[in-house]
């Protein structure tokens, strides 16, 4: 079992059952969607989504494009 982690996800404290970024993407229903991830102010490129491991207290931002001027 992967270790559990406590993170700040899009501004909210959250406990994740797995430290795999790919698991977070999966439980968030983001697969096949257009989004970008930043962890602790650094972009995590798509090519690293499968292998990236989240650390306790990571500050995770997941963003998408929305309507704007």
């Amino acid at each position: 079992m992967p270790p559990k982690v406590e993170v700040i996800l899009n501004g909210k404290h959250k406990r994740l059952e797995s430290n795999k970024l790919s698991d977070l993407i999966s439980i968030s229903n983001l697969e096949n969607k257009r989004f970008a991830i930043e962890i602790n102010n650094e972009i995590v490129p798509k090519s690293q989504h499968d292998s990236f491991l989240i650390t306790n207290q990571d500050k995770i931002e997941i963003v998408e494009a929305v309507g704007g001027g």
Binding site: N10, S28, A36, E38, I43, E61, V63, G69
Partner: protein
């Protein structure tokens, strides 16, 4: 008439750019874009909804990035650092595309830009290889600085964002247009079609608008009106208007009048 707008290395045949905010739904957004003929559409970058509505459609499911040039903005950022992060996120989101609209705000009420932060962010982003279209105040000195820094388009406000007050300082805009080596695109303030024509008649290279279309009673019809207004303003600019006179000048001949 072939009249291409060049922004950096990119070429466009439409001089109207449209924002995608404030529409009723994504379908209306898409219909307005289609009616406007815009090739460049702006989007904002925001946190994804990870809650119960995570299966909602995404804007880019409607606005195909292969069909339109997506111009992500940094709206809502009040510091250079936040604007830079937002651009980096947008580049990742859009498969490496570096076309961005930089906007660093200085005040939550009037939405005027913070120009020192804007210039700071522009310099970093240009060094990182971004093509920066920059929202700025209509101050010719700041505009020149952004032009010299390497921004690909200078986008002064015509009046505050979302105000619909129109072109409140045409003299500043004219000075900016005269001085600029880059396209000058009015960003913000247009309220109705005549405002768009006035900006284009002044010699602006293009117009970016959102609220004027989205908040019209009939956004699709207004998008169509704006398309025509930008085209007519542009043609009038290219045609060169007659000089203004302070006296009358008859159009019909004086000779041959009946007695």
């Amino acid at each position: 008439m072939s009249d291409i707008l060049k922004i950096g290395e990119r070429s466009f045949s439409s001089r109207l750019m449209l924002g995608t905010g404030k529409y009723k739904d994504f379908q209306e957004t898409k219909d307005a874009i289609s009616a406007s003929g815009a090739e460049i559409v702006t989007v904002a970058i925001r946190r994804t909804n990870l809650g119960q509505n995570s299966n909602e459609p995404n804007l880019l499911d409607f606005i195909d990035p292969e069909k339109w040039t997506i111009l992500p903005n940094t709206a809502g950022c009040f510091t250079a650092d936040d604007a830079i992060r937002t651009c980096q996120l947008s580049r990742e989101l859009l498969d490496g595309k570096t076309f961005v609209k930089l906007e660093v705000l200085g005040d939550e009420e009037n939405l005027f830009p913070n120009m020192s932060e804007t210039i700071k962010a522009a310099q970093v982003l240009i060094d990182e290889g971004f093509e920066v279209l920059v929202y700025c105040s209509d101050d010719p000195i700041f505009c020149k600085e952004l032009d010299d820094a390497g921004c690909v388009a200078i986008m002064p406000l015509a009046s505050p964002i979302g105000s619909g007050l129109g072109i409140i300082n045409p003299y500043n805009l004219s000075m900016i247009i005269e001085d600029s080596q880059k396209p000058v695109i009015v960003d913000a303030g247009v309220g109705t079609a005549s405002d768009a024509s006035i900006a284009m008649e002044l010699g602006c290279d293009g117009i970016l608008m959102n609220t004027a279309v989205a908040m019209a009673q009939d956004p699709i019809l207004m998008a169509s009106a704006m398309k025509k207004a930008v085209l007519s303003g542009r043609e009038a600019f290219l045609a060169g208007r007659m000089p203004k006179k302070s006296y009358g000048s008859a159009s019909s001949p004086k000779k041959g009048l009946i007695e």
